[in-house]
């Protein structure tokens, strides 16, 4: 009687993942993240090929400066998409935060107090999304299209067609490199946030719960995961960070208007999806999104260097996005089509057999 139990135990011990094997598997060429790193190197080589001035620290600085806000917004977006929801209101929240900051500053508020209010607005906006999605159980894509319009609308009411300028001089430092390095403030903040998000998502019970929610909401619920609370918190974090990105953006541009960041939401979603986050939830890594940001930034820099207009560059964005979902599906599709052809041939052979 004892024998089988021992074998089962031994088998279990054998099946326990070897840390070394696990570590090596991280670099498996089958992983989307590995493919992304290769793509990133290719994009760097491409930049180097088209422009000898590409591979220097200046490019790195400006790429960090241009992509900082989008990259920061992509982090909470990643977590939200992993839970199987989406937040399309991010860019409007950025615009609302920028407009609020501009309005309060124009009306003589202390800049720090105004920034605080912006963050509160962000939290409130995120909480509204969260309540509508979790407590009322409304579909997040519809809700956040609604709040996308609503927050942009409030930004318009707050600031109208005015442009706020004349922020304190210290804020201009944010558009310069940190000290004597070539690191943009945006980029530094993004890296720190990415580390925090990465640790939380991949190394804590909360992170595991986020995956569980995305894979099977009911199962997660019955395992005692507080599905609604976690989703709600993610929306609040998203609102907070978007408001924060709005403040950064305003200081860098040294001005704020109600149309700040119009249409960025789709860029943010594109970056997250290209980073290997599944739109159905349950899959995706912070590392993938990090490399995705790097690829987009590098391609934008090299294409700008050879005078490709911003709008024409969107072809590259679109193609990358399509490839990111088509390539993993390709082998499966080919297999399915071959099975289909096989059956069709089988049928025709049978039919001809019947005739003769």
């Amino acid at each position: 009687m004892a024998m089988p139990e021992v074998t089962v135990l031994e088998e279990m011990l054998d099946a326990r993942p070897n840390p070394l094997v696990q570590f090596i598997q991280l670099f498996s060429p089958k992983r989307w993240e590995t493919q992304l790193v290769v793509l990133f190197i290719v994009s760097l080589l491409y930049g180097w090929w088209v422009s000898p001035y590409f591979l220097n620290l200046e490019t790195f600085f400006f790429a960090g400066l241009n992509f900082g806000e989008i990259a920061i917004m992509a982090l909470p977006m990643t977590l939200i998409i992993i839970t199987g929801e989406i937040d399309l209101s991010v860019a409007s929240m950025l615009g609302l935060s920028a407009s609020t900051l501009g309005y309060l500053f124009m009306h003589g508020w202390n800049i720090w107090l105004a920034m605080g209010i912006c963050l509160v607005v962000g939290v409130a906006g995120g909480a509204l999304n969260g309540v509508l999605v979790t407590r009322l159980g409304l579909p997040s894509i519809a809700v956040t299209i609604g709040t996308l319009t609503l927050y942009r609308g409030i930004a318009l009411i707050v600031l109208g067609s005015n442009t706020a300028v004349g922020f304190p001089t210290w804020t201009q430092k944010l558009s310069l490199p940190i000290g004597s390095t070539h690191i943009a403030y945006d980029f530094a903040i993004f890296v720190v946030l990415a580390l925090i998000f990465g640790v939380v998502l991949h190394m804590t019970p909360v992170g595991r719960s986020i995956y569980a929610i995305g894979l099977q909401p009911e199962t997660a619920f019955f395992s005692g995961i507080r599905v609604k609370r976690i989703k709600f918190s993610l929306y609040v974090i998203s609102g907070f960070l978007c408001a924060f990105a709005g403040i950064l953006y305003t200081f860098q541009q040294a001005s704020s208007a109600s149309d700040t960041g119009v249409g960025l939401e789709l860029n943010v979603v594109a970056i997250a999806l290209f980073g290997g986050v599944s739109i159905f939830g349950g899959r995706g890594t912070i590392f993938g999104v990090f490399v995705s940001v790097a690829i987009f930034a590098s391609l934008q820099s090299s294409l700008t260097a050879i005078n490709v207009s911003g709008q024409a560059q969107s072809i590259v964005t679109g193609c990358l996005l399509l490839l990111s979902v088509l390539i993993p599906n390709l082998s499966e599709t080919v297999k399915r089509l071959r099975v289909k052809w096989f059956h069709a041939r089988l049928r025709s052979v049978r039919r001809s057999g019947e005739v003769s």
């Binding site: 399309l88 509508l132 009322l136 159980g137 409304l138 579909p139 894509i141 519809a142 809700v143 299209i145 609604g146 709040t147 996308l148 319009t149 609503l150 927050y151 942009r152 609308g153 409030i154 318009l156 009411i157 109208g160 067609s161 109600s258 119009v262 249409g263 789709l266 979603v269 594109a270 999806l273 739109i279 159905f280 207009s309 709008q311 024409a312 560059q313 969107s314 072809i315 590259v316 964005t317 679109g318 193609c319 990358l320 996005l321 399509l322 990111s324 979902v325 088509l326 599906n329 390709l330 499966e332 599709t333």
Partner: protein, 345 residues
């Protein structure tokens, strides 16, 4: 006992009333439109002038065209985010044709727009239906690709009003019996597609797919083929919308129609089409577009700062979604009660 008796006696009445309301989701939007109209009219009587009403009908015509196509796609539990870009590309290419062949017949121009859209829709459809890739990602990718192609084609050279023949511009500004031609075209699209969606089996299949894709496959519905057709038609209508855009504005830059995709989805959702598919009508979507546009104009007419438009539209969208949710929860409850009663008998 008496409690049970009472519920049994009361339930048929509430059910029939409630189901009636459910069936007339469109009626609720019509009432909302009339309400907005009446309120604005009391504030500013010129709101009911012929010109104002004509504007109210022709203004949303293009969004209605796109919303009709988008409804077909959303009913199958997919989404088409590329419609704005398709509209822009089609508007520019048709305009460019007029620059080279100023005497092109109007019908041909509309057909060309339709074909350009059809090509884009076919690409969307092939990738979504046959490569089995999520529609949101595919059409988001296509949104960028088509907009990029548009930018390269336009290359900074806009279409000017002087380059568009008068006969085509008339299409955008003319009226028949006082009704704007643009609105008539959009209404025809709603009528035709709406009738087809009610009557014919392939169109009913779209609802089956959206309600339960696995069940649809098991019931013998040719899911890929139907989904493909929905995307192709959506693209074609967006292309036709592009030609109409050219007729209405007579000037096209590379940004034409950008951001439209979310407006269209908003109109469709306000019109009572469930974002997760399976229910909703073309007429509802069209009325949703009409309502959003009427509110826009009502705000202008009642001299509320135009800065309020977007906030009001956003609020309305949220209310519409919440209302739909409330109605469906109530309906579910009633059906459950009814089912239980039938079980008793």
């Amino acid at each position: 006992m008496s409690v049970i008796d009472r519920t049994e006696a009361a339930s048929p009445v509430t059910t029939s009333l409630f189901i009636k309301i459910l069936k007339f989701r469109e009626l609720a939007i019509v009432v909302a439109i009339l309400l907005v109209f009446a309120l604005t009219y009391f504030k500013n009587s010129s709101f009911a002038s012929t010109a104002s009403i004509q504007q109210m009908l022709s203004g949303p015509a293009i969004i209605i065209m796109l919303a009709v196509g988008e409804t077909l796609v959303i009913v199958t539990r997919n989404v088409d985010l590329s419609v704005g870009s398709v509209l822009g590309l089609s508007a520019y290419l048709v305009g460019d044709l007029f620059v080279h062949y100023p005497h092109m017949p109007v019908v041909l121009a509309l057909l060309v727009g339709l074909l350009i859209g059809l090509v884009c829709g076919v690409v969307n459809g092939v990738i979504v239906a046959y490569a089995r890739v999520p529609a949101l990602v595919v059409t988001l990718g296509m949104l960028y690709i088509i907009r990029g192609i548009d930018a390269i084609v336009v290359n900074g050279v806009q279409i000017q009003p002087s380059q568009i023949p008068q006969s085509f511009v008339n299409l955008g500004s003319g009226t028949i019996l006082g009704i704007p031609i643009l609105f008539l075209i959009a209404a025809a699209a709603v009528a035709i597609v709406g009738y087809v969606m009610r009557t014919f089996r392939p169109a009913r299949d779209l609802y089956a797919i959206g309600s339960n894709p696995e069940a649809a496959v098991l019931a013998g519905v040719r899911v890929p083929r139907r989904v493909f057709s929905a995307f192709a038609i959506s693209g074609a209508l967006a292309g036709l919308g592009g030609a109409l855009w050219l007729a209405e504005f007579a000037t096209v830059a590379s940004t034409a129609g950008s951001g439209y995709e979310l407006n269209v989805v908003a109109a469709v959702v306000v019109g009572g089409v469930a974002i997760f598919g399976g229910s909703g009508t073309v007429l509802g979507a069209a009325l949703g577009a009409l309502l959003l546009n009427t509110i826009d104009q009502a705000l202008v007419a009642s001299r509320v700062s135009s800065f309020w438009n977007q906030a009001v539209a956003g609020m309305l969208l949220l209310v519409a979604i919440a209302f739909d949710r409330y109605v469906s929860v109530r309906a579910e409850k009633i059906l459950r009660v009814e089912g239980a009663h039938r079980g008793d008998a």
